[in-house]
């Protein structure tokens, strides 16, 4: 069983051809690349969409917050305007509460603007109430120049990391202004910006806030960068919001996913290939088995046929032998009766009696020899090919068929080469072949009405080998029969099986010979059996 499995394995791997494997691998590669491409495309799309959505959100948040700042300023200015005297304590409390609620607002100042030409802004109320008060002088004149109700953003190197919003008080207190300091870094809270997003907020080309993207892939080589840009719709703070998303290969190309797909597809492909191969092998095995069975069947058939043919030939032979044996028996009987009469005679010729008796001995021996030939012929001994004298084989078969041919009034002509050609054959099989050919020739002559009916057997030696030719003076072979001569079960005889010549061919070819049949120009058929000559045989054996 293990042996069988081993054999099966061996078969599979031997029959899993490199070509199939190469094709499968190629398909796999193409599939994987396609998958990677499509996957990248989808990821890229998704990243772009995510960026757009995030950009919109950030833009909306910044816009909202800008609007809040405007609202704070408006309400603070209103606070100043409402009271005839400045309610310092209340204002301070408002400042404090605003800063408390809005961490991005780092400081609020109520400033007295300088009069004409001055540049010193005096902070009247300020929160946080620390000692490190911001000097608002650098922007004091600019605020003073602002229109009533206008909120303006100030970016000044004097306030690093901050931007300032200034608004003048109403006409009731023209010398006053509210200045709010904002930390732009807090415009967007930590979790409002995904780590992958880079954010740059600028005003008229000056950067207010620049946050780099981080997170996975940030250190990778950036393949491309997606941008989202939109200006905040605010009079006071018309920031340009730039959200960027750098895309590294690892962002859009998931190694695990591609790898997973590659592995899965490879596995599936190999499985398919293997299954297919198994099926193909099974089919092949089945075919081989069927072929073997068919061959075995044919061989069995052939064996049976060979036997049938032998038996058939034996029947004919028996009839021939019976005829042949009657001759010596006739001579023996008549001679013996003559001898008896001579012995009883008064005045016998003294020479006649011994003559009759020695003739009897000769005849008895003749009958014995015939029986021996017959025994040799029918004996079942398995004879392997031996170096045989073809002339001898021809002579033997001629002796066997002579009686039958005489009966049919057919002359048998032997034209044997000297020295005799030799070949390595099984003499009995060769006799069978010749017997078949002779019988066919005799049958061909049967219906022919002619004076001389003859069969000629010729041996010769040529370059192609040792040759035996059997020809007859019959009417030859029909043109449409010629190509099917050696086809099994093809026959032109009414009672034939169509196996004689097929068997001849197989017997001759088994020993490396060749047989062909054709018509002679002089009429009649000629069959040529070409056998490997003994020299060729010896050469091949060395």
């Amino acid at each position: 069983m293990a042996n069988l499995d081993g054999h099966l394995n061996d078969m599979i791997w031997r029959h899993l051809p490199l070509r199939n494997l190469t094709v499968a691998l190629f398909v796999w590669l193409v599939l994987t690349v396609l998958f990677a491409g499509v996957s990248m495309r989808i990821e890229y799309q998704r990243a772009s969409e995510e960026l757009a959505a995030t950009g919109q959100t950030i833009h909306r948040l910044i816009s909202q917050r800008a609007a809040q700042h405007d609202a704070h300023l408006t309400s603070l200015v209103a606070l100043i305007k409402a009271a005839p005297e400045l309610p310092e304590t209340a204002i301070g409390e408002v400042f404090q509460s605003i800063i408390q609620f809005y961490p991005r607002i780092t400081a609020i100042d109520l400033v007295r603007l300088p009069v004409e030409g001055g540049s010193t802004a005096v902070s009247l109320i300020s929160w946080p109430n620390s000692s490190l008060k911001t000097d608002l002088s650098p922007i004091a004149s600019a605020i003073a120049g602002q229109k009533q109700g206008e909120v303006r953003t100030y970016l000044n190197p004097a306030y690093p990391g901050r931007y300032l919003l200034g608004k003048r008080a109403t006409a009731d207190n023209p010398g006053l202004a509210i200045v709010v300091q904002i930390d732009p870094a807090l415009l967007i809270e930590g979790d409002e910006r995904p780590a992958w997003a880079g954010l740059r907020v600028s005003l008229a080309g000056e950067t207010v806030l620049d946050l780099k993207a981080e997170g996975p892939g940030a250190n990778d080589r950036i393949l491309t960068q997606r941008h989202f840009s939109k200006v905040v719709d605010s009079q006071s703070q018309p920031f340009m919001v730039d959200v960027t998303r750098p895309l590294a290969l690892s962002d859009i190309l998931s190694g695990t996913r591609i790898g997973g797909f590659a592995l899965a597809s490879l596995a599936v492909l190999l499985l398919l290939l293997f299954t297919w191969q198994l099926k193909a092998n099974a089919r092949k095995l089945q075919q081989t088995a069927e072929e073997a069975e068919r061959r075995a069947h044919l061989q069995e058939h052939e064996t049976r046929l060979a036997h049938a043919l032998r038996v058939n030939a034996l029947g004919e032979l028996a009839s021939g032998i019976a005829h042949e044996l009657t001759q010596p028996l006739t001579a023996l009987l008549s001679q013996s009766q003559a001898a008896l009469r001579l012995a009883a005679s008064q005045d016998p010729d003294p020479a006649l009696l011994p003559e009759a008796l020695s003739a009897n001995v000769r005849e008895a021996k003749r009958a014995g020899a015939m029986l021996k030939r017959m025994r040799d012929y029918i004996s079942k001994r398995e004879q392997s090919p031996v170096l045989a004298d073809l002339n001898q084989i021809v002579a033997d078969i001629a002796e066997l068929v002579r009686a039958d041919l005489e009966k049919r009034q057919i002359i048998l002509i032997l034209d044997l080469a000297t020295p005799s050609p030799k070949a390595v054959v099984d003499p009995i099989e060769m006799e069978q072949v010749l017997h078949n050919l002779i019988r066919n020739a005799a049958d061909a002559l049967q219906d022919v009405d002619m004076v001389e009916k003859s069969i000629r057997i010729e041996t010769s030696l040529s370059e192609s080998g040792a040759i035996i030719r059997v020809s007859d003076t019959g009417s030859g072979i029909e043109a449409d029969t010629l190509p099917r001569l050696f086809e099994p079960f093809f026959t032109t005889k009414t009672d034939g099986m169509g196996l004689g010549l097929a068997l001849c061919a197989s017997l001759v070819e088994r020993i490396g010979g060749h047989i062909d049949g054709r018509n002679q120009t002089s009429g009649g058929a000629i069959f040529t059996v070409t056998l490997p000559a003994v020299e060729q045989y010896l050469k091949a054996a060395q």
């Binding site: 001759q327 028996l329 006739t330 009766q337 003749r366 005489e406 009966k407 009034q409």
Partner: protein, 204 residues
């Protein structure tokens, strides 16, 4: 009985010699031939004999030989001996006018009986050939008169029928008796009827 010649034709020499020896012990004259062609070439119609032939021989079979002999006016009795006593061959042989059909090996007694019978037949054949020769010696008018005599007509009736005198008819009858060697009407009848039955003679 007249000792007739025996012609033995068989392609097998030992068989030929054995049968020849046997027949010789009976004091018969045997002439042997290895094949029908030789026999046909040597056969002499003036030396009648009984033919003993193998049925199956190369080239010309016993039956073909028999037919060729008949074509040449030789109707001697023929005995066929064969190794194959098949029914078809036997029927064909008898149809062709073969006297007997024996199978090999042939027993002495059967062979001798067949030969005896053949000799008797040959004797009759020869007699008939003789009578035919006699009849052939008659003139046309004598033959006419003989036929009428055989039918039992009287001389006068014949004379009236042939429109000649009775004396002329008598003269014819005398000539006929002279030629045939008998004046018996019974002999005449036997002679003419035997002649009509002759297996041969249609080619004369």
């Amino acid at each position: 009985m007249k000792p007739f010649q025996i012609y033995l034709i068989d392609d097998d020499e030992p068989v030929r010699e054995a049968i020849k020896l046997l027949l010789r012990t009976y004091g018969m004259t045997v002439e042997t031939f290895a094949d029908p062609a030789t026999f046909l070439a040597h056969v002499d119609p003036k030396r009648p004999g009984c033919i003993l032939a193998d049925l199956r021989m190369p080239l010309i079979s016993g039956l073909q030989m028999h037919e060729r002999l008949l074509e040449r006016g030789i109707g001697w009795p023929t005995i066929m001996i064969t190794g194959h006593g098949d029914v078809n061959a036997c029927r064909r042989a008898f149809k062709a006018g073969i006297l007997d059909f024996l199978t090999k090996p042939v027993d002495e007694q059967i062979l001798m009986d067949a030969i005896q019978s053949a000799f008797q037949t040959l004797e009759r054949v020869l007699e008939k050939e003789e009578s035919r020769e006699l009849l052939r010696s008659l003139t046309e008018r004598e033959r006419e008169v003989l036929d009428m005599v055989c039918r039992g007509w009287a001389t006068k009736e014949i004379a009236v029928a042939l429109n000649v005198s009775a004396r002329t008819i008598d003269a014819h009858r005398a000539n006929i008796a002279d030629k045939l060697g008998t004046s018996s009407v019974a002999d005449f009848v036997q002679l003419t009827s035997a002649n009509a039955e002759l297996p041969i003679g249609r080619n004369t």
